[in-house]
């Protein structure tokens, strides 16, 4: 192995997400990234955290069109990732502190990574 | 401390004269490894197409029937992958950089390789291990 690093991944349900993230925040973790992967008809959203080089991952699996609550209330800087999630994957994220309304990354075709190519414009931040 | 920290450098520059490389009066600096541009020896190319397949930006195109080897210089990123991958050593990486052009044209080479009597195909298969 090139690198010796423990990486733990914990699956988390949508309704538990905010609580879990709060727990990590309280535990002194920093938000490393939020990233999505298309796993065929659904999205896998990875919330990665780090504390003293301990890499921890919360894994959320959501279907298309499912609204995901924003964690930007806990980690202020999360808005970049969440806007990106919306703009590239079309996942509707609700309650982002700085909402670019789909203009964070403007693409020629909308939601290029979306499984449905529908996107979540209509259900965002009602 | 001080307001004129840069003085030393300024004086040194004034005394030492400019460091400018007088390009184009002096040719560009190159070194043996410099990746300038790819050339083909049409006499040794066996049209295997490996270079074309490896090329990450599809700059190379081969037409086996017409014996044509084409390279779009405006796509080529001079990574040298084709050179490394060529089993026959037909491709070489030259150090010279290409001059600018006013028109975008694709460079064509006619392959002049003539098949010898005894074809050796083994080594090619070996190096192209990932073909699947």
């Amino acid at each position: 192995m090139t690198v010796n690093e423990e990486q733990t991944t914990i699956s988390v349900a949508l309704e538990d997400l905010v609580r879990e993230v709060e727990g990590l925040h309280a535990g002194g973790y920093r938000l490393v990234q939020i990233g999505c992967t298309d796993i065929g008809g659904a999205y896998e959203v990875n919330y990665s955290f780090d504390k003293d080089y301990q890499f921890k991952n919360l894994r959320l699996t959501v279907g298309p069109e499912t609204e995901v609550p924003s964690v930007s209330g806990i980690y202020w800087g999360a808005f970049v990732y969440e806007n990106e999630m919306h703009d590239l994957f079309g996942i509707p994220v609700t309650g982002i502190n700085i909402d670019f309304k789909g203009t964070f990354i403007k693409t020629a075709e909308k939601y290029p990574f979306s499984v449905t190519r529908l996107g979540g414009d209509r259900c965002r931040n009602a | 401390m001080g307001i004129f920290q840069m003085t030393k450098t300024v004086l040194r520059n004034l005394a030492g004269g400019p460091v400018t490389r007088q390009y184009p009066a002096v040719p560009a600096r190159t070194c043996p490894l410099t990746r300038g541009h790819v050339t083909i020896d049409p006499a040794t190319c066996r049209s295997c197409g490996l270079c074309s397949r490896r090329c990450p930006c599809e700059a190379i195109r081969i037409e086996k029937e017409e014996k044509v080897w084409e390279i779009d210089r405006m796509r080529c990123i001079a990574c040298g992958d084709c050179v490394e991958g060529c089993p026959f050593g037909s491709l070489t990486m030259e150090q010279e950089y290409l001059p600018p052009v006013v028109e975008h044209v694709v460079e064509r080479h006619t392959i002049t390789y003539v098949k010898p009597e005894k074809p050796e195909k083994k080594p090619k298969e070996e190096s192209a291990g990932e073909s699947a």
Binding site: I98, D99, F100, K101, G102, T103 | -
Partner: protein, 634 residues
């Protein structure tokens, strides 16, 4: 003398007449006609006495003086009534004190209250009369239509236009009286009249703010009035040496030390009237009044009474520390008010601060009082009156048209109201640019201050003061000339007639610049020469150069014709963002934003909150110092 009396009495007649005129058109006719008469009379005055030097007239004294005292008492009662009505007890106290002092003066020194000549005229008075007669009456003409529109825009304000025009013309009469009087008692009487008129006109709209500001102005001016009476008492008491209440004799008095104290007190009165620091707040508050009032009372004429008296007394101040500190009050006011003007975006407040600043500068010149400075001071009075009235009237016209007196809302005026913009441009240029008037005076002042001991202080004040002046005027000008796109023209269709006064005053601004060598040589220089025995004048070559500059400025706009043809128009640079002509762009967060170009106000550094208090404190100290120094000199 008939002309003088006519100029004092005719406006009163008109004023009374206007009390009974209710229709705007008729009022317009009356006002325009009397303006013509008053203006004509003041020009006739010029032709009559310009070459004469000082001429004194023994006008009827007894009856007039008695009437004046009676009116003064009446006014005091009026103030007491108003003070009681609006619960402003300070005003009552001051009015009572003043009345008591007048009574004391009348009863104790009645024998000493006779001037040899009650009226007089000299070149300085002519200048003042021209300002009052021409500019004042033009403003009155402008006011007729303005007030009509004003009431249309402010239906909540009670229509008291008859009172308004009565007071306006009474004021003109008082101003004429003030500059023609050789009897200081008379001067004081007219002085008080202007105070009252100002009080009435500031409070015109009867809002809470207007009333408050009116009383502020009243209190501060009464304060000066009290000082004036004290000075009169002092003069009367020392009549054999000081010359009593005869202005000419006072100024010619042999014992400079004696008259220094009354001079300092009258100087103080001048400071309050000219709204120098720390009394500048009343003038700022006065900006709630309708714009013609601001133009007439609070920039071109009434406040000039304050500096008029200072300039009159400047031979007394010359070379004394008292004068120096009064001059410093002006100097500090100049620099501080100019600096605060940077932080203002309300056009009228900018004009008010600039007025205060310029009055300060005039006071500085008068206080130091050497012959060149007096020359410069009178020149400043002339140029300031012309340019500032234009600016005020222009602001009023713009406000009615654009709906705002904020400088930022005047953006692109050159597109929306081109004629108005050009007039404003000329007015502003008159305030600070090179070949125009104010700058000539500043320049002369610098040359003069170099030769005065400790003049360096004033040079520093001028150097910094004119620097900040350039800043706030130029940025205003910049707003006017910004060529905004896709804005509609709003010049036409509004009231037609008031343009006439604006055109005339614009013409006057240019005329004074072109003719200032003539004004200087026929009016100012003889006056200075008569007082000091020497006079200042600009070098012939420099005059030529300035005329050349003016000529260039008049000719160069022709070059517009050259450019109109060949140029290709492109939108403004917006960082590569596709720009619409009205400067909208797609901003972050999916919003469409519009480029906003706003002037800098540097409130953090030049704000009122930051500068007013220190300026006021310094000026208060300097005023107190001027009294102490006058006392010491005695």
């Amino acid at each position: 003398m008939q002309t003088l009396l006519f100029l004092i009495l005719f406006p009163i007649l008109v004023a009374c007449l206007l009390l009974f005129v209710k229709r705007t058109t008729l009022r317009y006719a009356v006002v325009a006609l009397s303006a013509l008469v008053i203006g004509g009379a003041s020009i006739y005055l010029l032709m009559q006495y310009a070459l004469e030097g000082a001429v004194y007239f023994a006008a009827p004294s007894e009856a007039a003086s008695l009437a004046m005292v009676a009116i003064e008492m009446g006014l005091a009662l009026f103030i007491v009534y108003m003070g009681a009505k609006f619960k402003n007890y300070l005003a009552i106290v001051l009015a009572v004190v003043q009345a008591a002092l007048v009574v004391y003066l009348e009863t104790t020194f009645s024998g000493n209250l006779h001037a040899v000549n009650n009226l007089f005229i000299d070149q300085f008075s002519i200048i003042m009369a021209l300002i009052i007669g021409i500019i004042g009456s033009l403003i009155a003409v402008y006011a007729v239509r303005y007030m009509e529109t004003y009431h249309r825009h402010h239906p909540e304000v009670r229509d008291r236009q008859t009172m308004f025009f009565f007071v306006t013309f009474a004021f003109l009469a008082a101003m004429f009286g003030l500059v023609f009087s050789n009897n200081l008692m008379w001067v004081f009487f007219f002085w008080e009249i202007t105070t009252i008129t100002s009080f009435l006109l500031i409070g015109y709209s009867e809002t809470e703010e207007a009333t408050k500001n009116a009383f502020l102005a009243l209190v501060m001016n009464l304060l000066g009035g009290v000082a004036f009476v004290v000075a009169l008492i002092f003069l009367a008491a020392t009549e054999p040496v000081s010359g009593g209440i005869d202005l000419a004799r006072v100024l010619a008095s042999g014992d400079a030390a004696i008259i220094l104290i009354p001079a300092a007190l009258i100087g103080f009165a001048g400071i309050t009237k000219a709204a120098l620091m720390p009394f500048s707040s009343w003038l700022l508050g006065a900006m709630v009044a309708p714009t013609p009032v601001s133009a007439l009372l609070h920039s071109s004429t009434m406040v000039k009474a304050g500096v008029y008296i200072l300039v009159r007394f400047s031979p007394v101040f010359a070379g004394t520390f008292t004068g120096f500190s009064i001059g410093l009050v002006g100097g500090v006011t100049f620099v501080v008010a100019s600096a605060i003007a940077i932080s203002q975006s309300n056009a009228k407040l900018v004009l008010a601060y600039s007025t205060i600043a310029n009055l300060g500068l005039i006071a500085a010149c008068a206080g130091v009082g050497n012959y060149m400075l007096v020359w410069a001071a009178i020149l400043l009075i002339v140029f300031h009156a012309v340019a500032k009235s234009l600016l005020f009237l222009g602001t009023g016209a713009i406000e009615h048209r654009v709906g705002s007196r904020d400088i930022e809302d005047m953006e692109g005026l050159i597109v929306r109201m081109p004629k108005m913009a050009v007039m404003m441009f000329i007015g502003i240029a008159g305030m600070f640019l090179a070949p125009f008037g104010m700058l000539i005076s500043k320049w002369a002042a610098i040359e003069a201050f170099v030769q005065v001991p400790f003049g360096l202080v004033f040079i520093a004040i001028l150097a910094y003061g004119s620097a900040v002046t350039v800043f706030f005027w130029a940025k205003w000008m910049g707003k006017l000339v910004a060529v905004t796109r896709e804005t509609e023209r709003v010049e036409k269709g509004f009231f037609e007639e008031p343009w006439a006064p604006l055109y005339i005053i614009t013409g006057l601004v240019i005329a004074t610049v072109l003719l200032f060598p003539v004004i200087s040589s026929t009016l100012i220089e003889p006056y200075v020469l008569a007082i000091y025995g020497v006079t200042a004048r600009l070098a012939q070559a420099n005059v030529g150069i300035m005329l050349l500059m003016i000529a260039l400025l008049l000719i160069l706009p022709v070059s517009f014709l050259l450019f109109r043809r060949s140029a290709k128009h492109l939108p403004a640079y917006m960082g590569g963002r596709p720009a619409t002509p009205d400067l909208h762009f797609a901003g972050s967060l999916g919003l469409t934003r519009e480029v906003q170009t706003r002037n800098y106000y540097l409130t953090e550094y030049f704000g009122e909150a930051k500068l007013f208090l220190p300026g006021a404190v310094v000026c208060t100290i300097l005023i107190l110092a001027s009294w102490v120094l006058a006392g010491v000199a005695l």
